[in-house]
C-alpha cells in the first residue's frame, strides 16, 4: 500500500537572492513496511527529501502525497495534524529534551496532540526498544545508544505511517549503530511502517529493502532487494 509519493518534486532555496536547487524533478514511491535508505554525499538532498516527506516543508514544484494527501494543499494547522498522525522523526543527535524524563520525552507527541493514555503508550514503546525499566531517568543519565532508542520510541508513540530517520547512527559507535539499525528494521516490519533513512553508512544501506542513490538533487539510481 502506497504511503508516500513524491511526484516530479523540485525544491529550491534562496540564498542572498540566488536560487539554489536542492532537489530537481524527483519522483519516488514508498509503500508501508518498506525500509528505504537514502544515500549520497553531503548536500545531495537527503535531508531536504526527508523534510518534504515529513510535511515540514513544501516543494517548489511537483507534489508530495502523504497517505494520498498533498502537503501543498494544507495550511499550517493541517500540516501539523498530518505530522501528528502520520509522521515520526528520528535525528542524528537524538534531540531529546533534557528537562524531561525518558517517559515524558516519549509521550510528548501524544501530549502535544492532546491524546489520552500517553503513559501506557510510552511504556509499551519503551518495551519495544527494550528500555522499559529506564522510564524515570533523564537523558543525561543514558548512553548514546539508549538515547537514540528513546528517540525511536518517541517517533513511534503515535503509530506513524512513515518513520523518517536522518543519520540515526551518525553519533553512535559501530556496534551500537548496528543494534539501532536492526531495531529500526524489526520495528518497520512489526509495525508495518514505511521507514526512510538518510545515511552515509554502507552498512546501514545494506540493511534496507530499497536504496535510493541521490546526487545533486536527483535520483541517480534505485536498488531494490
Amino acid at each position: 500500500m502506497l504511503i508516500l509519493s513524491l511526484q516530479n518534486v523540485s525544491k529550491d532555496y534562496l540564498s542572498d537572492g540566488q536560487r539554489i536547487p536542492a532537489l530537481s524533478n524527483l519522483s519516488l514511491d514508498v509503500k508501508r513496511g518498506e525500509f528505504v535508505a537514502l544515500v549520497g554525499r553531503s548536500g545531495c538532498g537527503k535531508s531536504t527529501l526527508l523534510n518534504l516527506a515529513g510535511a515540514m516543508d513544501f516543494p517548489t514544484a511537483g507534489q508530495v502525497l502523504v497517505d494520498g494527501v498533498s502537503t501543498s494543499s494544507l495550511e499550517d494547522a493541517g500540516l501539523t495534524r498530518l505530522r501528528r498522525e502520520k509522521v515520526g522523526f528520528i535525528f542524528q543527535s537524538f534531540q531529546l529534551l533534557h528537562t524531561l524524563t525518558v517517559f515524558e520525552n516519549v509521550e510528548l507527541p501524544l501530549l502535544l496532540a492532546g491524546k489520552p493514555n500517553a503513559r501506557e503508550a510510552a511504556r509499551e514503546r519503551l518495551a519495544w526498544v527494550e528500555l522499559d525499566d529506564l522510564g524515570h531517568r533523564y537523558p543525561h543519565q543514558l548512553s548514546g545508544g539508549q538515547m537514540q532508542r528513546v528517540a525511536i520510541a518517541r517517533a513511534l508513540i503515535h503509530s506513524p505511517s512513515i518513520l523518517l530517520a536522518d543519520e540515526p547512527t551518525g553519533n553512535l559507535d559501530t556496534t551500537t549503530g548496528n543494534v539501532i539499525l536492526e531495531l529500526l528494521r524489526r520495528l518497520t516490519r512489526q509495525q508495518n511502517t514505511a521507514t526512510i533513512m538518510a545515511t552515509h553508512s554502507v552498512e546501514a544501506a545494506a540493511l534496507a529493502d530499497m536504496v535510493v542513490q541521490l546526487r545533486d538533487g536527483k535520483i541517480e539510481g534505485i536498488t531494490r532487494r
Partner: protein, 851 residues
C-alpha cells in the same frame, strides 16, 4: 589595536546581531541611571539650592537676632545704643500671593528709612541686598508709602504697575516703585518698607529678624557673646543663615531616603546585567574554548566579558544622562511640594546637569554593569578549553548549590533581624538599611531552592491544568535554574520594594486617616487665603472669630495659633489650642493612653505642654521632662505633660493652652478657626452665613470632609514620587524579563523547532513562551510579596521611625496591592509576547539541523 579589533569581532558584533535584546539591556541600565540622576538633580534643585529668597536678599551680614513670635522693636534701639560700630538691619519676613498669577512669594519688609541709601547702591548678585532700579521720580520718594513695593525683574512687572497682593486674609493694592535684578528667579521677592509690612501684616511693635554686620575683630563668637548679654532672655542671636542650615540638615533625611529608593532600579538593573552576561557566557562557552585553545589567556576572557558589560553600562549611562535630566523636571515639582508641605518654604532652583553629575552617572552605569558582570565573567575565565568545547550549557546550569544557598539565606535573615534592632547612627537608620539589604540578599539566596521546589513539584499539576505547554514551561524554567533564579530575583526585588513601599504608605495613610478623626472634630475649618507651609502660618484678622461666634447656628469657635520656633537650634512648630472650646473625642491620641480631656486639663493656663512624637525623637525628650522655649523676650520652662501622635509635620510640635501662649506672645490673631455647628442647625445654612460674614476677607472655608480629603490629597502627592520610583524599578525588571525570554527563545531554538517536528502547533509554541513568562511573573510575585512584607516591617518600624519619628500602625492596603501585583503580572506576561512571536517564526528546519 588588534585586541580592540578582536573585542569588536567576538563581543560587540554578536550584540549587534540581536539589537532588540541588546537595546532592552541598555535601556534597563539607562532607566536605572536616569532615576538616580533625576532624584539627585531634583533633590539638589528642590532642597539643595535651598538658599531661599529670604537668605538671598539678606545681604552680607554676620549675625541674626530672632525670637519666637517676633523680636520686640525696642531691641533695635538697644542694639543701636551699644557702643559698637554695627550695621543693624531689622526685617519683617512673611509671604504674599500675587492675586493675578496666584504666585506665592516671600514678602520682605526692610528699614528703608535707616538703610535706604545702601539699598539703592548694593547689588543682589554680590550677595548683598538688591540694587533697585530707579524710577523717574527717584528711588526714595515712595519708600515710606504703605502701598509701595519693589519686585524682582523676573516677575515681569514694570515700574508704575499696580498689583493686588493677598497677605494673610486681606487683599491689598500696591504700586511697583522699582525692580531689582534677580538672575534666575530664585531670589524673587516682594520688598516693601518695614513699616508698610507691619501695617500689611497687622503686626506692630515686633520685627521677625534683625541682621547684624559686625566688624572683623574680635571674632564672630566673641561678638555673639557680647551682644547676647545685651538682649532680653528670650531673644536669641546666631550666625546668619543658621535656620537655613538647620533646615538643610532636616531635609537631608528626606533626600537620603529618596536617593536610596532611587537605587532600587539600579539594583534591579544589576541583576539583569548579571543575567545578560551569564547568558552570554553560556552561549559562547564553545567559543571560549576555541579562543582559549588558540592562545587567549584567562584574563583576556575575563576582560572580554567585563568589557561587554562595560559597553552596556556606558551605553546605558549615555542614554540615561538626558533621560535623567528630563525626569528631574517632573521630580522637582513633586519634591518641592513635599518640602513645602512637610518641612519649609522654598522655591525650587534650576536643574543643573553639572560635569560632576554627568561623571557620576557614567561611573554608576559602568560601575554597576562591571560589578554585576564580574562573577559570570570570572566563571568564563576559569573554565578549561577542553571542558568549554566539550560540554554544553547543562553543566553550567546545574552548577548552583541550592541547599548551601538556603542556609546562607537563613543566616542572612537572622543577621537582618539583628540589624533591625540596632539604633540609628547620627539620626540615620544605617542599620535599618543594612537590614533591608540583607533581606534582599537573603531572598536572592533562597530563590533557587524556591524556584526549583515550585517548578519541579508543580509541573505535573500545571500540565494537567493548563496542558503540556505548561508542563514544558515549568520544566524549562527548572532546567535553567540559575537563569530563572536571577530573573525571579530581579523582578521579585522590584515587586518587593513596590509592595514594601505600598504597605508602608498604605499603613501611613490609614494611620493618618484614623488620626484625623480624632484631630479634626469640628464641623467647619477656616484658614487665611494666602498659602501656608510647614514654617509659614498666615493669620486671620482677630475680629473675624468674634463675628463668626455671634452667628446663629454656631455653637463654638476654637482659635488655633501656630508659630515657627527654634528649639535646640532645630526648627519646630509651636501650637496653641483653645481648651475652653476643644471637644473631647473618645479615642486617646496620647502615648500614656489617657483620655484627651485628662491630659489637656493639665495644660489649662499652666506652663505645661504636650509635644508631638517627632519632637520627642528629634530632641530626646519624654513625658515628665522639661523644655525651655524662647517666647517673645522671655525664656520659659515648660513641663511635658504627655506626648501626642502627630502626622502633620516632620519638624515636631509643641502644643499649649491658648491662654498660656497669649501670656508670652500676646498677638491674638489665630492661624485657623475650628467652627462647631449647633446640633439643631443645618451645616449648609451655617456655612452660607459664615461665607457672607467673611465676604471682605480672603479666607478658605472647609467642611470636615473637605479638609480630610485635602489632607489625604497632600499625603498622596507627597508619596507620588515614591510610587513613581517603584514603577520605574518594575518597568526595568519587566524589560529584563522580555530580554531574558528573548535570550531563552534564541538559546532553546532547537528545542522549540523540535516541538514542531513532534507535532507541536504554532499556538502551542506561543503558549509555551507565554506560560513561561506567566510562571516567572507568578514566582516573582510570590517571592516579592513575601520579601516585600518583611521589608515593609523594616520600613515602618525601623527606617521610618528612626528617620522621621512617626509611629505607623501596620495595615494591609489590599486593594492597592492586588491592583499593583495584577498589573505587574499582566506586564510580565505581555513581556513574553514579542519573544513568543520570535519563537513562532523560528525556521524549525534550520534550527533543528544547526548542529
Amino acid at each position: 589595536m588588534p585586541r580592540l579589533l578582536l573585542f569588536y569581532r567576538l563581543m560587540v558584533r554578536p550584540l549587534l546581531q540581536e539589537p532588540v535584546r541588546a537595546a532592552l539591556t541598555v535601556f534597563a541600565v539607562a532607566l536605572g541611571v536616569a532615576v538616580v540622576l533625576a532624584i539627585d538633580l531634583a533633590g539638589a534643585a528642590a532642597t539643595g539650592s535651598f538658599r531661599s529668597s529670604m537668605e538671598a536678599l539678606a545681604g552680607d551680614n554676620d549675625l541674626e537676632v530672632t525670637a519666637s513670635g517676633g523680636v520686640p522693636e525696642d531691641v533695635v534701639g538697644t542694639l543701636v545704643s551699644l557702643p559698637y560700630s554695627i550695621r543693624i538691619s531689622p526685617r519683617m519676613e512673611n509671604y504674599a500671593v500675587i492675586v493675578d498669577s496666584k504666585k506665592s512669594l516671600p514678602l520682605i519688609g526692610l528699614d528703608f528709612v535707616g538703610e535706604g541709601e545702601s539699598f539703592a547702591q548694593l547689588d543682589s548678585a554680590s550677595g548683598a541686598a538688591p540694587r533697585v532700579q530707579e524710577n523717574p521720580q527717584g528711588p526714595l520718594e515712595h519708600f515710606g508709602d504703605n502701598d509701595s513695593i519693589w519686585l524682582g525683574t523676573s516677575l515681569g512687572y514694570n515700574v508704575g504697575a499696580h498689583i493686588q497682593l493677598l497677605i494673610n486674609d486681606q487683599v491689598r493694592e500696591y504700586t511697583v516703585r522699582g525692580v531689582y535684578p534677580d538672575s534666575n528667579g530664585a531670589e524673587s521677592a516682594i520688598v516693601m518698607d518695614i513699616a508698610a509690612a507691619q501695617h500689611a501684616l497687622a503686626r506692630y511693635g515686633r520685627v521677625d529678624r534683625i541682621l547684624l554686620k559686625v566688624p572683623n575683630a574680635p571674632g564672630l563668637n566673641e561678638w555673639q557673646q557680647r551682644l547676647r548679654g545685651a538682649l532680653p532672655a528670650g531673644v536669641e542671636i546666631h550666625p546668619q543663615g543658621t535656620g537655613t542650615n538647620e533646615n538643610r540638615k532636616m531635609l537631608a533625611a528626606f533626600r537620603w531616603n529618596l536617593q536610596l529608593l532611587s537605587y532600587v532600579s539600579l539594583v534591579v538593573g544589576a541583576f539583569l546585567i548579571y543575567n545578560t552576561i551569564s547568558v552570554s557566557v553560556v552561549r559562547r562557552r564553545p567559543e571560549i574554548g576555541i579562543v582559549r585553545a588558540l592562545g587567549a589567556s584567562r584574563s583576556a576572557i575575563l576582560f572580554a566579558f567585563v568589557g561587554e558589560a562595560g559597553c552596556f553600562g556606558l551605553a546605558g549611562a549615555l542614554v540615561g544622562l538626558p533621560l535623567g535630566h528630563f525626569m528631574a523636571t517632573g521630580a522637582v515639582k513633586l519634591m518641592s511640594a513635599t518640602v513645602e508641605s512637610l518641612y519649609v518654604s522654598s522655591q525650587p532652583g534650576a536643574i543643573e546637569l553639572s560635569f560632576t553629575s554627568a561623571l557620576l552617572a557614567l561611573a554608576i552605569g559602568v560601575g554597576i554593569a562591571v560589578a554585576s558582570a564580574y562573577s559570570p565573567a570570572r566563571e568564563a575565565a576559569l573554565v578549561s578549553p577542553v571542558e568549554a568545547m566539550g560540554r554544553g550549557r547543562r553543566e553550567y546550569d546545574v552548577n548552583i548549590e541550592k541547599g548551601r544557598d538556603l542556609w546562607l539565606a537563613l543566616a542572612l535573615g537572622l543577621a537582618a533581624v539583628a540589624a533591625s534592632r540596632a539604633p540609628a547612627i547620627r539620626g540615620k537608620p544605617l542599620f535599618g538599611y543594612l537590614a533591608a539589604i540583607l533581606l534582599v540578599v537573603a531572598s536572592a539566596s533562597a530563590i533557587p531552592a524556591f524556584v526549583h521546589a515550585i517548578t519541579m513539584f508543580s509541573s505535573k499539576l500545571l500540565g494537567k491544568l493548563f496542558g503540556v505547554e505548561a508542563m514544558l514551561a515549568s520544566r524549562s524554567l527548572a532546567g535553567s535554574l540559575r537563569r530563572t533564579s536571577v530573573l525571579v530575583s530581579a523582578l521579585s526585588t522590584a515587586i518587593a520594594m513596590m509592595t514594601a513601599v505600598g504597605i508602608m504608605v498604605g499603613s501611613f495613610r490609614e494611620t493618618v486617616a484614623v488620626w484625623m478623626e480624632d484631630r479634626l472634630p469640628a464641623d467647619l475649618y477656616l484658614r487665611p487665603g494666602s498659602s501656608a507651609a510647614a514654617d509659614r502660618h498666615p493669620t486671620i484678622s482677630p475680629g473675624l472669630a468674634e463675628t463668626i461666634e455671634k452667628l446663629p447656628g454656631v455653637a463654638a469657635v476654637e482659635r488655633l495659633r501656630a508659630y515657627e520656633i527654634f528649639y535646640q537650634e532645630m526648627p519646630a512648630t509651636l501650637v496653641s489650642v483653645d481648651l475652653d472650646v476643644l471637644r473631647t473625642e473618645p479615642n486617646s491620641e496620647y502615648f500614656s493612653g489617657r483620655p484627651r480631656e485628662q491630659v489637656l486639663a493639665e495644660l489649662r493656663d499652666s506652663d505645661a505642654v504636650v509635644v508631638s512624637e517627632p519632637f520627642t525623637y528629634k530632641h530626646g525628650v519624654k513625658t515628665g521632662d522639661s523644655i525651655t522655649l524662647s517666647l517673645g523676650e522671655k525664656q520659659v520652662t515648660f513641663r511635658i505633660a504627655d506626648v501626642y501622635y502627630d502626622y502633620s509635620s516632620e519638624r515636631g510640635s509643641v502644643l499649649m493652652d491658648r491662654k498660656t501662649m497669649l501670656r508670652y506672645l500676646p498677638d491674638p490673631a489665630p492661624s485657623n478657626l475650628a467652627i462647631y455647628v449647633a446640633p439643631e442647625a443645618k451645616l449648609e445654612t451655617v456655612r452660607a452665613e459664615i461665607e457672607q460674614a467673611t465676604a471682605g476677607h480672603r479666607v478658605l472655608l472647609f467642611s470636615n470632609r473637605d479638609i480630610r480629603a485635602e489632607a489625604i490629597r497632600i499625603f498622596d502627592r507627597t508619596f507620588a514620587i515614591t510610587y513613581a520610583l517603584e514603577a520605574v524599578a518594575v518597568i526595568v525588571a519587566v524589560m529584563g524579563i522580555a530580554g531574558a525570554l528573548l535570550a531563552l527563545v534564541i538559546d532553546r531554538r532547537r528545542e522549540l523547532g523540535l516541538l514542531r517536528f513532534l507535532g507541536g502547533a504554532t499556538g502551542q509554541i506561543r503558549k509555551l513562551i507565554l506560560v513561561e513568562a506567566g510562571l516567572l511573573g507568578l514566582l516573582a510575585n510570590v517571592a516579592g510579596l513575601a520579601l516585600g512584607f518583611a521589608l515593609s516591617l523594616v520600613l515602618i518600624y525601623v527606617i521610618n521611625k528612626q528617620s522621621f519619628g512617626w509611629t505607623i500602625r501596620f495595615h494591609w492596603p489590599v486593594e492597592i496591592l492586588v491592583a499593583a501585583l495584577t498589573m505587574v503580572y499582566a506586564a510580565t506576561v505581555l513581556a513574553g509576547l514579542y519573544p513568543a512571536e520570535v519563537a513562532v517564526r523560528l525556521n524549525s528546519l534550520e534550527v533543528v539541523h544547526e548542529e
